[in-house]
Every structure is written in C-alpha cells, then in structure tokens.
C-alpha cells in the first residue's frame, strides 16, 4: 500500500511541525527578552552598567521616582525624594527606604521599569537594590541605594523620565534563611 506509506510520511511530517511549534511557543520567551534588551522596549532596563561617562553640563533631565507595592505586599516602601534633576553622563544616587511592619521575616524583590520605554536603553544602573533580593526581619528598616547614569545619547525629546519600582513579596518562593545566632 503505497498510499498508506505516503500518508504515514505526511502525518509524521505534520507531527514534527506540531512539536516544532510547541517548542516555538517556549522559544518566544528568550526571543522576547532579547528583543526587549536589544531595542530597550517595554521599559526593561539592563543589568549592572560598567561604563563611565563624562557629564553633559549643558543638558538637564528630570528623573522621577515611583515606588509601588504589588498586591499583598505589606512593606512600606518609597524613595527619599520624588524627583531629582541630573546632567546626562553624571552618576547620581537615590535612596529607597523599606520597612517590614510584620512579625515575620520576609523576602522581597523590586522590579524596575523606565518610562517612556524608549528611554529605558539610555538609563544605566551602576548599582541597584533590584539586582538582589532583600530580606527584612520583623520591624526592620533599611535604606537601599540605587546609583544611575542617564546616557548622554538620550534622545533629545526626552526631558524627563520615570524610574518605577514594583516591590513583590517572594517569601514563599525564597524563604528568608534563618538568622545566624549572634
């Protein structure tokens, strides 16, 4: 039965296509991340920035700070100032303060986002509390620095940008390690 053989071959090929497309669905994840990184879209910022820049004293950019708690997150969380004005190229520091009002140790993760999203690729963080997780003991309060440089190549029409953090409670996912005995 050549027809049977033909059908079997076709079905096999179609099954390969099915498996490939299932894989493609998952491949969309890294593709998406790469695209966001490459084009600085979606407000995603890159990891720690190593470079150094000369400041552009001619130009000023307003950087606003936003702190939001994700649902169910009970910490108090906020920046020490709502806004700073910086020169592109200059390194600036801002302190965010977090406080755990509960009677349990908790772990948190802050996720940054920059608006407008086309500015994200020009916003470099040299140091950030969002690179790690924070563990706070009951009633503990910390000051967390973020140090950043606004790139000199920031498009000219961007005069102010917003750095927003959302703080997530990830205690369930990463339980705080028991405190070392003093």
């Amino acid at each position: 039965m050549t027809e049977d053989r033909q059908t079997r071959r076709l079905v096999l090929r179609l099954c390969v296509l099915v498996v490939a497309m299932f894989g493609f669905g998952f491949a969309l994840v890294p593709i998406y991340d790469v695209m966001c990184q490459a084009f600085g879209i979606n407000g995603k910022t890159a990891g720690a920035y190593q470079g150094d820049q000369v400041q552009d004293a001619e130009r000023q950019v307003r950087v606003q700070f936003l702190a939001t708690n994700a649902a169910d997150m009970v910490w108090t969380f906020g920046p020490q100032a709502d806004e700073v004005t910086v020169h592109p190229g200059a390194s600036t520091q801002m302190i965010f303060v977090a406080y755990n009002p509960t009677d349990k140790p908790m772990t948190a993760q802050a996720i940054p986002s920059v608006a407008p999203s086309k500015a994200a690729a020009y916003f470099h963080k040299t140091e950030c509390f969002c690179f790690t997780q924070q563990v706070l003991q009951p009633g503990e309060r910390i000051e967390m620095p973020v140090r950043f440089i606004v790139d000199r190549d920031l498009p000219a029409d961007v005069r102010h940008l917003t750095l927003a953090y959302t703080l997530f409670d990830i205690t369930a996912r990463k339980p705080p390690v028991a405190q070392a005995t003093p």
Binding site: K44, A70, K118
Partner: protein
C-alpha cells in the same frame, strides 16, 4: 442521478457494497465512519452552542438594566469567560471539523478520512474536555473568571483554584483539534480521486486545507502558553510573573500569536462554504476561483504577523504600533478580494433566495461590516479609545455571528438534504433566518454606539446613559437565542421526514457530493469516481 432514487435503497447505490452502520450505542462510541463522526461533531457543536448561548442570555439579562439585578459580579465574570471559551472552542471550531468530516471526503471523492481511528479519538476528547471545563463552574471558588483571553497574572496569581482544570481542558481540546487538522490535511493531500487536482478542489476544501495548517501551527503555541501558566502556578517558574523576572506582557504576545490566526481558523471554512453556496443559488460559476485560493492563502500568511493589534495599548514602541497597524490593514486587501468575488458571482446571476442563500448573502454583507469595524480598530491611535470597550465586542460579534455562525447555518441548510435525504421545511428555514438576522443586528449593532461612547466590556454594570441601547441589545439577544431552538426543531423535523431530496436538490450546485444519492449512503466513493466522465457529464445540458 435524480429524485427517482429510492432512499431506502440508497445504501445499495452505485458506490456502496459494504455493510451499513452497526446497531445501538456502540455504533457511535466505536465508529470510524467519517459521516458518523461528522454527525457527532455537529451535534456536539450544537449542544455547546446552546450551552454557551444560555450563558450569553445570563449576561444579557444582567445587562438589561444598569445596576446589579440578577447575578453577582463574580458569577458574571465566569459567564463571560465561559461563554467565550465555549463558543470559540466548543461551538464554532467543532462545527467546522464536523462539516469537514462530512463533506471533504465526499467533495474530493475519497472513501473516508485518511486516519479513521484517530478521527474517532479526536472527537471523543471533546466531551471529556468540555465536561472538565464546565465542571469547574461547580467547584469551590468557581470556574474561570479571567476572560476567554485568560491574561496572566489574572489567570495565574489571582485565579480561582479551578484554573488547573481549565488548563487541562485546553490541553485536551488542543490535542483534539490538532489531530483533527492533521486528519483533514492528510485526507486532502493524499486521498483525492484521480483527476481531482488541487486547483479543481471546491473552495471549502481549499479553505480547510489552509485552516488545517493554521491549526497545526498555532494550537501547539496555545498548548505551550497554558503549559507555561501551569508551571508558573505549580512549579515555581516565572514566565509571566514580574516578581521572578518574567513578564506579563509576554503572555499577551504568546496568546495573540495563537489568537489572531485563531480568528481566521474560525472564518476561513465559512468563506469556503459560502463560496460553494453563492454560485449554486446564483446559477453561475464562482467568480475568480484562483484569486479566492490566493486570497485565502495570503490572509492565512498575514494572520501570523498582525497579532500585536490586540496589544496597541500595552506600551509597544511607535515603530511596532506602525508595523502592526499597516500589516493589519493589509489583511483587508485579500478580504476585499473575496467580498468582491462573491458580489461579482451574484452579479447578473439568476438568483433565488432559499435559506442557505439568505444566510450566505447576509454573511457577505454583515461580515463586511465586521471587517470595517476591524479596520477602525486597526488604526492604532484610535484603538486607544476603542480598546476594551463594547466597540470591540460589536466588531468580533459581527465577524463571528453573521460570519462563522451564519456560514455554519448556511452549510447546514445547504447539505441537510444530502445528510438526511429530506428537504428541510423552507418556510421555517426562512423564519429562522429572518429572526436570526433581526435578532443579531438588534443585539450587536447598538454595541458600536455604546462602545464608542465609552462603555467598557466585561463589566456587569454600566452608566445610566447606556441604558436604552443596552435594553435593545438584550431584547435582540433574547430573540436571537430563542430562535435557535427553532433551528433545533427544523433539523429534527428534517431528519424525521419531509419531501424526499433528490441527489442534487439545488439545480445550480456543483461538486462530487451531489453525484451520490440523498441521503448519502454510509460508504461513498469506495471506488474513486471517474472525474473525466463527470466533467463531460457536467457540461451536458440535459443532466439533472
């Protein structure tokens, strides 16, 4: 080949020398016959249509007046979600698979589907899947309430417990439609009668071939999407959770990569069906057959590169907005080609308006309205106003109800004589059409206005100023819903009796399915038809 064939002897007609169907319930459980399976798909789809329809009645009853009257918001959300899921995956898609099962082998002169046993399995997965899905409504915390598009993290972090069963149900129905699609594609590519070249295939077969490939390409992506949800919920991954480095917007990209081709999966077979029906009742060959094939193929191709038109407001970059805006508008070109071809087919035809034709003509007109509202939505800056309003609801109901559903009704009336051996009741059929036509326009047209005025979708309450239009919508919806019981009655009446149907009851109809007696014998084309004689026959004016 005419009305003199006695339906009782049809089983011993020219092509059949096998035994008939087995007796009793096991016939349906174990059957591998494409006609039996097609029948089961169609009945299943109709049952889901009524179930999803009852949920729509709950929604419209709640929206009859502003304020909360009948249901709680939590339950309202479950109704909108389940209505969408059941209509898309339970009513429209299985109806087309049922039509393909019945008609594709008969249209290409094949004895059955290429993989009959898999065919049985893919059908029986569906009751399992939807049993599971509907059972979630009775679970603690209720069923899915996050919209048929189930955006994460609403469907992961904030979902009711039953979401795991929802995911499993999607897996099952996905496997079912993938197997169904493989079967149809294999049948079309490998089982055509000698002489039935690709460019001689009826357009229903062509559109199903292309739909089959769309299904094979995107159903696995949907499966991947729900699998990622499952992993986020139970295995601690964070594909869509920002807290763990994932991204909720990624969900929308994955979903709509499936979702936009999916909307064409729901319309292409209907394009094919009306492309057979309009020529039959205009008594003219289809205008521009070749362009129809290429238009279908280009629609299918373009459907892969427009998905982000559902996401204009999530914050994609300007170049992205422009790309997806123009790509979306480009789809209107091949779609327009089709509409003009249907219109040209009717032009100067000797038209009669039996029920299948009424549904087909309404299809062309009303689907075009849906296409126009689609174009409005495709204008990215305008979509910031329209997005998530009732305008979107009006758009997709215009393409799905008088598009997909009317296409299915037209097909059902057109082929019922072939399936049952009886003519349906033409008066009741026309009544069904006019009630559906008036009901659906009353229900959905006002939604354009309330949407443009800013009424958000998926909310059980609304501003007083939308009250009148909503009441009209609800009345239209009740009318449309009730009318579908009439359709049930017409079909049952047609199965039980009626004027015996000729082998070719429509004088303008073309195609191999009309060369076998009515009702179609249990086995057809066990020996392939001879295309050469048939074609000579067709040009013979004395035939029929």
């Amino acid at each position: 080949m005419s009305a003199v064939i006695d339906p009782h002897h049809a089983g011993h007609g020219l092509t059949d020398h096998h035994h008939g169907p087995a007796k009793g319930l096991m016939r349906w459980v174990l059957t591998t016959n494409h006609k039996d399976i097609g029948t089961m798909y169609l009945w299943f789809s109709f049952a889901m249509f009524l179930l999803g329809g009852s949920m729509a009645m709950v929604i419209r009853a709640e929206l009859f007046q502003p304020g909360l009257q009948i249901v709680q918001p939590e339950f309202f959300n479950q109704m909108t979600t389940m209505h969408g899921l059941i209509m898309v995956f339970g009513a429209v898609m299985p109806a087309f698979v049922g039509l393909a099962n019945w008609m594709v082998p008969m249209m290409i002169g094949a004895p059955d589907m290429a993989l009959p046993r898999m065919n049985n399995f893919s059908f029986w997965l569906l009751p399992a899947s939807f049993g599971l899905l509907v059972s979630t409504l009775f679970m603690e915390g209720g069923g899915p309430n996050f919209g048929w598009t189930f955006y994460a993290p609403l469907s992961t972090t904030y979902a009711p417990e039953s979401v795991t069963f929802f995911i499993f149900a999607i897996h099952l129905l996905g496997i079912s439609s993938i197997m169904g699609a493989i079967n149809v594609v294999a049948t079309i590519l490998n089982l055509r009668a000698p002489g039935m070249t690709l460019m001689k295939m009826p357009l229903f077969v062509w559109t199903w071939l292309i739909t089959g490939f769309l299904l094979i390409a995107v159903m696995p992506v949907l499966a991947g999407c729900v699998t990622m949800m499952l992993m986020d919920i139970h295995f601690g991954t964070s594909f869509f959770s920002a807290a763990g480095g994932g991204d909720p917007v990624l969900f929308q990209h994955v979903f709509w990569f499936f979702g936009h081709p999916e909307v064409y999966i729901m319309i292409l077979p209907a394009f094919g069906a009306v492309s057979s029906i309009i020529p039959a009742f205009a008594r003219k060959p289809l205008f521009g057959y070749t362009s129809m094939v290429y238009a279908t193929a280009s629609i299918a191709f373009l459907s892969f590169i427009v998905w982000a038109h559902h996401m204009f407001t999530v914050g994609i970059p300007l170049t992205g907005e422009l790309f997806f805006m123009y790509a979306t508008m480009l789809i209107a070109v091949p779609t327009g080609v089709k509409v003009f071809n249907w219109a040209s087919t009717m032009w100067q035809g000797s038209m009669t308006f039996e029920t299948p034709m009424l549904f087909s003509v309404a299809f062309v007109i009303l689907f075009t309205i849906g296409g126009f509202s689609g174009l409005m939505l495709a204008i990215a800056p305008a979509d910031f106003q329209y997005h998530d309003t009732y305008f979107v609801v009006a758009h997709f109901h215009y393409v799905l109800v008088p598009g997909a559903i009317f296409g299915i009704f037209a097909s059902a009336y057109y082929w019922l004589p072939k399936w049952t051996g009886h003519m349906y009741d033409e008066t009741l059929g026309k009544l069904h059409f006019w009630m559906s036509f008036v009901g659906m326009n009353l229900a959905f047209f006002p939604m354009h206005f309330v949407g443009l005025a800013g009424m958000p979708r998926r909310i059980p309450d609304y501003n007083m100023m939308f009250a009148n239009f909503n009441m009209v919508s609800s009345i239209g919806a009740f009318m449309f819903g009730a009318t579908q019981l009439l359709f049930l009655f017409i079909v049952i009446k047609c199965i039980r009796g009626g004027t015996p149907a000729a082998a070719k009851p429509w004088d303008g109809a073309e195609g191999l399915e009309w060369t076998v007696p009515s009702p179609a014998p249990y086995h057809t084309f066990s020996t392939p038809p001879d295309m050469a004689t048939l074609e000579a026959h067709r040009t013979d004016p004395r035939h029929d």
